[in-house]
Symmetry: C2
Subunit: 343 residues, 2 copies
């Protein structure tokens, strides 16, 4: 019998600054035979997320880098084609971490079976998955918004930012979103119900932001860095909290930017405003909060209080350009690649 193959995208070389499509290479490999406890997966949806930029570099981070020549990592919704696991039936759909490829053989303890009738399959990669939980855990555990407080988040039409603002509203806070361009801002304010949405590309962005937060900022959910952060800092209130879950604007920087050195001024602000700045990865809070998240988020979606938008790209070949576009803010909503049909 002929072996099962997988077409996959591997890291061809490490980027120096902004990555290009040359950093990726497509290849086809033969998959090994299944061992006991393993399943053969067919990828339906591949999630593309900013953290993957970090995995392309060799620099020390919270996770090991992808080795040159290895398949790019990533969460997927996949269908089980063949199973040698008593826990996972052939035909079922699972959340896996099987990466940028069309098929994969993985151990059954690395997948979680999904209920396709409970929610659209792709939401397991977005509002009901890692991005949604990043928003939920970081906002509630670190940001701790109080009724009447002001919460600011950037990339507000994206999967994390959109959930941050809506959950802040659910907890009685005022939500101000920052997004790139008038269409995204209209969506954030009109569809998602944020109290205000500011276009960071506007020449008077900093002034618009100041006007949108008349009582200052109590929680700044940091997922972009750069010029947005610079505009936020002077507006922070005493005891403001800054959960730091990402810095997408600076992931491509190969060296420290030119001066002046803003670190002393930042530390001075931390001191005089009694700020809390806390980096986190959602995995830290899984044990403590994931069940609560699934219960709350499912209910909020059913009640229409937690909306989401997906940006679906078709075909694994389009994963590299879509990923590169996301790093420049070109996606509009949670970016997923539809690698194969749902059925």
């Amino acid at each position: 019998m002929s072996a099962v193959t997988s077409t996959r995208i591997v890291l061809a070389s490490r980027p120096d600054g902004e990555p290009t499509t040359d950093n990726f290479r497509t290849e086809t490999i033969e998959l090994p035979e299944l061992s006991d406890g393993q399943v053969l997966l067919r990828t339906v949806y591949l999630s593309l997320d900013p953290y993957m930029r970090g995995r392309m570099s060799a620099a020390e981070s919270y996770a090991d880098p992808v080795e040159v020549g290895d398949v790019m990592v990533g969460a997927t919704v996949s269908q089980v084609l063949e199973s040698r696991s008593p826990q996972v039936a052939a035909g079922s759909y699972v959340l896996a971490y099987s990466g940028w490829q069309t098929r994969a053989v993985v151990d059954d303890n690395t997948v979680r079976v999904l209920d396709p009738s409970a929610a659209p399959l792709s939401t397991a990669l977005g509002v009901l998955g890692m991005p949604g939980f990043t928003a939920y855990s970081g906002l509630l555990k670190i940001g701790r918004p109080q009724p009447g407080e002001t919460v600011v988040v950037a990339a507000a039409s994206g999967p994390v930012g959109s959930a941050v603002g809506q959950i802040a509203k659910i907890y009685g806070a005022r939500a101000v979103g920052i997004a790139g361009g008038p269409d995204k801002c209209a969506f954030v304010q009109g569809e998602l119900g944020f109290d205000a949405a500011i276009d960071h590309r506007a020449p008077d962005f900093a002034e618009q932001l100041r006007a949108a937060v008349p009582d200052g900022i109590d929680v700044y959910f940091e997922n972009v860095g750069g010029s947005v952060t610079a505009a936020v800092l002077p507006l922070l209130n005493l005891y403001a909290r800054i959960p730091v879950c990402g810095l997408v604007s600076q992931y491509n920087a190969a060296t420290a930017p030119e001066g002046p050195d803003r670190l002393p001024g930042f530390m001075g602000l931390v001191l005089t405003k009694s700020l809390t700045v806390r980096g986190f990865i959602q995995s830290e809070f899984v044990r403590e909060m994931y069940e609560d998240f699934e219960r709350d988020a499912s209910r909020w979606i059913a009640e229409g209080r937690l909306k989401y938008r997906e940006d679906v790209v078709h075909g694994l070949d389009n994963a590299p350009p879509a990923f590169l576009g996301m790093l420049r803010g070109k996606n509009f909503g949670k970016l997923v690649v539809r690698v194969g049909p749902e059925e």
Copy 2:
């Protein structure tokens, strides 16, 4: 009857960068008659602390600046010369916030009566006062050292740093102190019992620090900033905590230093190491922790587990040069000015 006078040191002008004695002026004023509920104080000890540098500038901070022409603020141990308060008897000693002057008329609700038999009077300004409580509250509430963890603190022979390291030891952590010069380092390691003391003036300071923390740094109690912080950052462990109570090395900086801009790199570290950076002023924790502090610190002092050193300057005239010297690290121990005799 002739009015009572006070000789006092006022802010003559705001410093531009490093302050000089020209920023201060001595004058003598007549004090007002006592009203009901007021007491007339004679200053015995005046506390000199780094935060006073902030009050000399007009920049926004957690406290209002001293106005030009106003008396410099500061905590004192004073004796009550005359009282129109039922709560505070003439002759008693009090902790007051009466500033850089020989006498003062203050409301009785701004003073706290001290027991001169319980501890040396001057300790109310140091190990049993604001600096000691800064160490206690910031370390225990934000730093949360666990047994076996490594705590690093600078200005380790000073009133805050010396308490931080000793309390860390009491809680089972490893304490590494940073101080300026071999005498201070010998005191920190030999007298205070830190596990190691590193001279930040040594040309190989960063290498010495690295060697002194083989398991990395779990808590960095930030009270100096500058080059010490730069050496600490690469050594921080995952989930490290940084209570920020002061930045004495940068208080005199009039503008942001030249680049490169280290803020993006710092935020990247916050993210990849899941750091907690938290500015604080001890007053935030008074209600919650001050009673515990007084009980614990008194017991630790009695048991010989919490030692302290004072650097006593004689005469109010010497307050300005002593203060300026402190900003350059010239004091050795808690700096107090003996303004008048204890009896």
